[in-house]
């Protein structure tokens, strides 16, 4: 018995060491980026010397503002992230509500269809999509990043599963009280599913902030770029000789907000809520 116990404690040690290793691998590139972004341009950054900072400086970030229109790009990123998230939450929850709480002809088939559309992604039709966007005059418009993804299959799928758990009595009671259908959704269902909306919102916000392919495709003016596109072009924006310190300062500028948002969300939510987000 005691030998068995020793063995299990040995496993505990392995588990803890393994996870420490995992955490190190997860954190290392990000910390390394932060270190280099505050080193002065003259300092050595090769190999291990990157890990010591002699003269921390914010000059790289200042240079960044000279190379790319940071504020404009930040606004573009923020606009698409915020509007993209709000609209997608609203329309996915609305559709999820219809699928979960109404009985109507073709409901099961339509829902299966929604799920099936997840397999073929919009990327597959990128070429004609660009032509369509041009016809709709949405090229170089931030709305081109918002409108196509106002209602996504994954979002509808996830929120439907969640809204199914809302008691039917609640919906019925509101209906008896004379609440209109949209009122039931807005005033009864939405408050109840707040946790699901919150975790879906944070996942969407991160995905939209990090979005690269679609902005690259639909936006082709400096003043319309999102921050992500501008940063990706940093290596060539100073005549092919942008110092690494400045490039990594740009990376820090796009990665840190996402990390901070994520940590805030983690602090606000109870344990395991992210796991709940993908239960379906």
């Amino acid at each position: 018995m005691s030998r068995n116990r020793n063995r299990i404690q040995g496993h505990g040690l392995i588990v803890n060491i393994f996870m420490l290793l995992v955490v190190a691998v997860c954190l290392f590139p990000v910390l390394w980026m932060c270190f280099i972004s505050v080193k002065s341009v003259g300092e050595k950054i090769s190999g291990f010397s990157a890990l010591t900072i002699e003269h921390p400086t914010m000059a790289n970030f200042g240079r960044l503002f000279e190379l790319i229109p940071v504020w404009t790009n930040l606004f573009n990123s923020g606009f698409t992230t915020i509007f993209g998230t709000i609209t997608t939450l609203f329309f996915c929850a609305l559709a999820g509500f219809a699928f979960a709480k109404y009985r109507f002809p073709g409901r099961a088939k339509l829902f299966a269809f929604v799920v099936a559309t997840m397999a073929i992604s919009a990327e597959a039709g990128a070429i004609p999509l660009c032509v369509i966007m041009r016809k709709m005059n949405l090229i170089n418009s931030l709305w081109s990043l918002v409108i196509p993804r106002v209602a996504t299959a994954v979002g509808i799928f996830y929120l439907t599963q969640y809204i199914k758990d809302v008691p039917d009595e609640l919906v019925e009671a509101a209906r008896v009280d004379g609440c209109r259908e949209f009122g039931i959704f807005w005033r009864v269902v939405c408050p109840v599913i707040k946790p699901a909306l919150a975790s879906w919102a944070s996942l969407t916000m991160i995905a939209r902030w990090n979005d690269y392919f679609w902005p690259l495709l639909f936006l082709n003016k400096n003043s319309k770029y999102t921050l992500m596109v501008s940063v990706s072009m940093l290596p060539v924006s100073d005549g092919l000789a942008t110092p690494w310190q400045v490039i990594l300062a740009g990376c820090t500028l796009v990665i840190l907000p996402a990390i901070i948002l994520y940590l805030l969300m983690q602090l606000m939510q109870k344990a395991g809520s992210f796991a709940g987000a993908v239960k379906g």
Partner: protein, 304 residues
């Protein structure tokens, strides 16, 4: 509006029209998805097939050339390279992602793990980081002269390698970046699967004297089979439309080009929309086959 749309389709059959009108509220609520799907997904995908039979630079009218683009594709070494790269990426990613996420999820679920919440929070971080920015960071980490990876290899007695400068190794940083970033997502899916396995199985097995390894092999794996399969399929879909990683970390020539990246380069850099569409068709077929497999299995296993 949705109600009216459905009604328009069934004009003439008065009974059906009345029925649709009766259920107009739910139809209206789900209409936005179907309209957007039609305009921004279904029409583009069908149109892709059409353009693939044409020569078109996006302006003017397309010139119909029949199977020409496909004939070009059959001869094109760039297509062959990109396709084979993608097969390589696919195999490595599926094995790598499923194995590593499973290991991390099992460890996160272990009762022996200290400070579980901290580990959980930090191990999700890579998923939050933008792949493009991480691509730039990896570009530096894997730099031949200044990069840390080479420094570590040399200090361990290995040979300095031109990771992104040689066609031999250029795929490696790309797939490491892809796996590094995507793992947390699958860890969470597998972890939530582990939470659903009843503790009683393990308790009974421990009483019977089964070792931890045996428990993992005979309880955890069989019960997670569906979830692991779901993960493998999702990774498959993600890797076939991979763009950001190989685009930012592009090596010499087509050494690490992904198929979707080739679509982009042909379509939006050389404006050869016909050929790019033909390449997209290959991509669509791959994705269709995968989803067909998924559908078959979903039916037989009733819900993953």
């Amino acid at each position: 509006m949705g109600g009216r749309k459905k009604a328009g389709q069934s004009s003439g059959k008065n009974g059906l029209l009345a029925r649709v009108w009766k259920y107009r509220t739910p139809y209206l609520f789900i209409a936005p998805f179907f309209i957007l799907f039609l305009v921004f997904q279904l029409i583009p995908v069908i149109w892709t097939f059409v353009i693939s039979f044409a020569d078109w630079n996006g302006l003017g009218s397309p010139k119909w050339v029949g199977l020409k683009q496909y004939k070009i594709m059959a001869q094109d070494y760039m297509f062959r390279d990109a396709f084979l790269n993608n097969v390589w990426y696919w195999i490595v990613a599926v094995i790598g992602v499923v194995c590593i996420s499973l290991m991390i999820a099992v460890c996160l679920n272990s009762p022996r793990l200290k400070a579980k919440k901290v580990f959980q929070t930090i191990s999700f971080l890579p998923y939050v980081c933008a792949s493009v920015a991480m691509g730039l960071i990896f570009m530096m980490l894997f730099d031949e002269n200044a990069g840390l990876i080479n420094e570590i290899i040399v200090s361990l007695g290995g040979k300095r390698r031109a990771w992104l400068g040689s066609s031999q190794y250029a795929k490696i940083p790309v797939i490491i970046l892809f796996i590094w970033r995507i793992i947390p997502w699958f860890t969470i899916i597998i972890y939530s699967g582990l939470l659903n396995i009843s503790k009683e199985y393990y308790e009974a097995a421990t009483v019977d004297g089964a070792s931890v390894i045996q428990q993992f092999w005979y309880i955890t794996i069989p019960l997670l089979k569906n979830i692991l399969f779901f993960c493998a399929l999702t990774v498959t879909i993600d890797i076939w439309k991979m763009f950001n990683e190989s685009y930012t970390l592009s090596g010499p020539g087509t050494s690490n080009t992904s198929l979707f990246q080739l679509v982009y380069e042909n379509g939006f850099k050389s404006f050869n929309l016909g050929y790019a569409s033909a390449l997209s068709v290959v991509l669509i077929i791959v994705l269709l086959v995968i989803s067909m497999i998924q559908y078959k299995l979903r039916r037989s296993e009733e819900g993953i």
